[in-house]
C-alpha cells in the first residue's frame, strides 16, 4: 500500500529558528506538491515540482521559504527564519504525471512560538 510519508509529524519551535520538513513521494510519481492548511486561509498551494524541477512556487513567501527536491525520493520545505504566522499543517502530495490525482501525506503540524 504505497503512501506519501512526511517527517516530522509534529514540530514545535521558537520564532527565528530554521524548520525543515521532509516528504517522500510515492515511488514513480512525477509531481510533488506542498500545501499549507490553516483555519483562516484553508488549503494553499505553496509550490510544486514535476520530475524534480520546480514549476510553480508563486504561493510561497520567497524571503523565508524554500522548496527543493534533492532526488526523486525526497522533497524538502524549509522555513528560515520561522515566524508565529507560519504555524499551520503542511501537507505534501504526489501524483503520477497526466492523471492529475494527488495523494496526500499525513502532514506536519508546525507550531512556532
Amino acid at each position: 500500500d504505497a503512501r506519501v510519508t512526511q517527517t516530522p509529524r509534529h514540530k514545535v519551535t521558537e520564532m527565528g529558528q530554521e524548520v525543515t520538513m521532509r516528504c517522500q513521494p510515492i515511488l514513480g510519481h512525477n509531481t510533488v506538491f506542498w500545501y499549507r492548511q490553516t483555519m483562516m486561509q484553508g488549503l494553499e498551494l505553496l509550490a510544486y515540482f514535476r520530475n524534480r524541477a520546480p514549476l510553480d512556487d508563486s504561493g510561497m513567501p520567497k524571503d523565508r521559504f524554500s522548496a527543493e527536491m534533492p532526488d526523486a525520493t525526497l522533497a524538502t520545505l524549509k522555513i528560515q527564519p520561522s515566524e508565529p504566522r507560519d504555524s499551520a499543517v503542511y501537507f505534501c502530495a504526489s501524483g503520477p504525471t497526466g492523471t492529475y490525482e494527488q495523494f496526500f501525506g499525513p502532514g506536519t503540524r508546525l507550531t512556532v512560538l
Partner: protein
C-alpha cells in the same frame, strides 16, 4: 481567475438524512473534478473523481457526484449519512493546462446520531 466555490461552509445533519454539498468552478476549458474528504486530524483522501464519460460518478463509502457542465457544477451527494461521515469535504478542479488542483474552501459536515 480560476476558482472553486463551495457555498456550504458548515452542514449539520442527523444520521440517515440525505446530503448534498455544492461545488461550482469558474470556466477555464476542459476540467477534471475531484472530491476529497479530510477526517478530523487526518490527511485528505480521495472520495471520487471525474475525468470524462458518465457525468454521474460513484465513489467510496456510498458517495456520488454529478457533473453538470452547463452549470459548472460538481455536487456531492449521499442518500443516507452516517455519524462516521463527520469530516471536512473539499472540492477540487484541475484545469487541463496544468498539473495543479484548485481547491475550494471546504465544507465541514457534522452528523449527529
Amino acid at each position: 481567475a480560476q476558482s472553486v466555490s463551495q457555498h456550504n461552509h458548515h452542514v449539520i445533519l442527523s444520521e440517515a438524512a440525505s446530503l448534498e454539498l455544492g461545488c461550482n468552478y469558474s470556466y477555464g476549458g476542459t476540467v477534471n473534478l475531484f472530491w476529497y474528504v479530510q477526517y478530523p486530524g487526518q490527511h485528505l483522501q480521495l472520495l471520487l473523481k471525474y475525468f470524462s464519460g458518465d457525468p454521474l460518478v460513484k465513489g467510496i463509502k456510498g458517495f456520488e457526484a454529478e457533473f453538470i457542465k452547463s452549470k459548472f457544477s460538481f455536487n456531492l451527494r449521499k442518500p443516507s449519512v452516517q455519524w462516521s461521515d463527520t469530516a471536512e469535504y473539499f472540492c477540487a478542479v484541475n484545469y487541463r493546462n496544468t498539473d495543479k488542483l484548485i481547491f475550494g474552501t471546504g465544507t465541514r459536515l457534522q452528523v449527529f446520531p
